[in-house]
């Protein structure tokens, strides 16, 4: 009884993520300092920016997420509810690993170049 519902809902989510992926790709091309959160993933998972760039994370999920540096190298965000954003300006070159402090399996990185 439940099987068809689960399968149907999973299919819907897959279709949704494929569509969202297309939109994200276009957005990422236009503004390489933007990271979106969809389906518990940071997209793109790694971005490369120039020193002084402000990176903005936006949560598109129905569940809150939070951004935290893996080694406390930058200020962590408040919890982001749906469609909320967090921005941080990276002024020092380096590779910044980060994760969602609510769902730590979610990881990403920002590469800051000179």
């Amino acid at each position: 009884m439940l099987r068809p519902i689960i399968a149907c809902s999973a299919l819907g989510a897959v279709v949704g993520s494929v569509l969202a992926g297309g939109v994200l790709f276009a957005r990422a091309e236009g503004t390489p300092n933007a990271v979106t959160i969809d389906n518990f993933f940071f997209t793109p998972g790694t971005i490369t920016v120039k020193t002084g760039t402000t990176v903005t994370w936006t949560n598109r999920d129905d569940i809150p997420h939070g951004i935290a540096s893996s080694n406390n190298a930058f200020k962590k965000s408040a919890a982001l509810d749906t469609d909320e954003s967090y921005s941080f300006t990276f002024t020092t070159p380096g590779t910044y690993q980060y994760f969602c402090y609510l769902h730590p399996k979610m990881v990403g990185s920002i590469v800051v170049e000179q």
Partner: protein
């Protein structure tokens, strides 16, 4: 008398049968490792009045208003109405976390207003959604943490059963799972030391202490260490939430069990791209939300756990 009074022992076939059943979310119970389908709640309730009966609710996510359930407060109220209609009043209730969706004062107020209508003592542990106020858990600790240690862990005894509430949603590490941490583990080791091996133990925490789905973070990285301190005990029951569905595993003397949410369902592992809220047809929602009723009977190794959906 119900047949759940008279079972003991556990066979591989029965465990597998149980695990098959769990995925379907059918109303069921376990005693002595033997699962039984129960047609009505009252059948199990009438089984035995001598033991200890308590309730588990979980993941009420008060404040959640997304398509998967625009009225999470309403379904929590339905769950409490169901609690109040039980033929046998439980001794108390445990809430295994994610009381609120965003740790807002009003969400905690609304949750308390509804849950207090059960007129039961409630023992809470926090979920990650309860600790995301600007002060990272201050609101939760002020409300529920007065008699607790650290981030909110504690233990208590009822009818000879030792209950331990743990917190595995604090100080999570990049790439990792749920986390108990050394301070809490040391406390746990001391808490159970010196207790007779015959003491039944009930351990409860938000995220499953066993790994349900590694990719989705449904597990606790130092959960095995915690369970290591409980090896000598003949009866250990681990109750969790977080995954918004019923899952059960029996391993030696340890029974692992997760409860439904009262707010929204989440997909079974591997059936969706993410563990986020699952939108189901409106007429299916209440079949996937619910409460758990747990009964301990003297001289039985395993607790009887009855998962009861809000509807169906």
């Amino acid at each position: 008398m119900s047949e759940i009074d008279h079972r003991d022992g556990v066979s591989r076939r029965k465990v597998l049968e149980c695990m098959t059943w769990c995925g379907t979310g059918v109303l069921w119970t376990i005693s002595g490792g033997v699962p039984h389908s129960l047609g009505i709640m009252g059948e199990a309730q009438a089984a035995d009045s001598r033991g200890l009966t308590f309730l588990q609710i979980s993941d009420s996510h008060v404040g959640f208003d997304k398509p998967a359930n625009p009225n999470a407060l309403g379904t929590l109220e339905e769950a409490i109405t169901k609690v109040n209609a039980l033929p046998q009043k439980p001794a108390f209730m445990i809430h295994t976390g994610d009381i609120t969706h965003l740790s807002k004062d009003k969400e905690f107020d609304d949750a308390d207003h509804i849950i207090s209508q059960s007129r039961l003592d409630v023992h809470y542990v926090p979920g990650e959604h309860d600790l995301i106020d600007p002060d990272q858990g201050k609101v939760y600790r002020e409300r529920y943490g007065k008699a607790t240690k650290g981030a909110g862990w504690y233990s208590f005894d009822a009818n000879g059963v030792h209950f331990i509430g743990l917190v595995n949603v604090v100080d999570l590490k990049a790439g990792g799972l749920g986390n108990l941490g050394n301070e809490q583990l040391e406390w746990l080791e001391g808490d159970v030391k010196g207790r007779p091996a015959s003491t039944p133990i009930v351990l409860f925490a938000h995220i499953p202490l066993w790994t349900v789905a590694q990719d989705w973070g449904w597990g606790t990285q130092d959960g095995a260490q915690a369970l290591g301190y409980l090896k000598k005990f003949g009866s250990v029951t681990v109750l969790n939430g977080h995954i918004h569905q019923v899952m059960q595993k029996v391993e030696g003397n340890v029974t692992f069990h997760t409860a439904r949410s009262t707010a929204f369902p989440q997909p079974a592992p591997g059936t969706a791209p993410s563990p986020g809220p699952m939108k189901v047809p409106d007429d299916q929602l209440r079949k996937m939300l619910g409460i758990a009723n747990v009964t301990f009977k003297q001289n039985e190794q395993r607790l009887a756990i009855i998962d009861s959906p809000l509807q169906g």
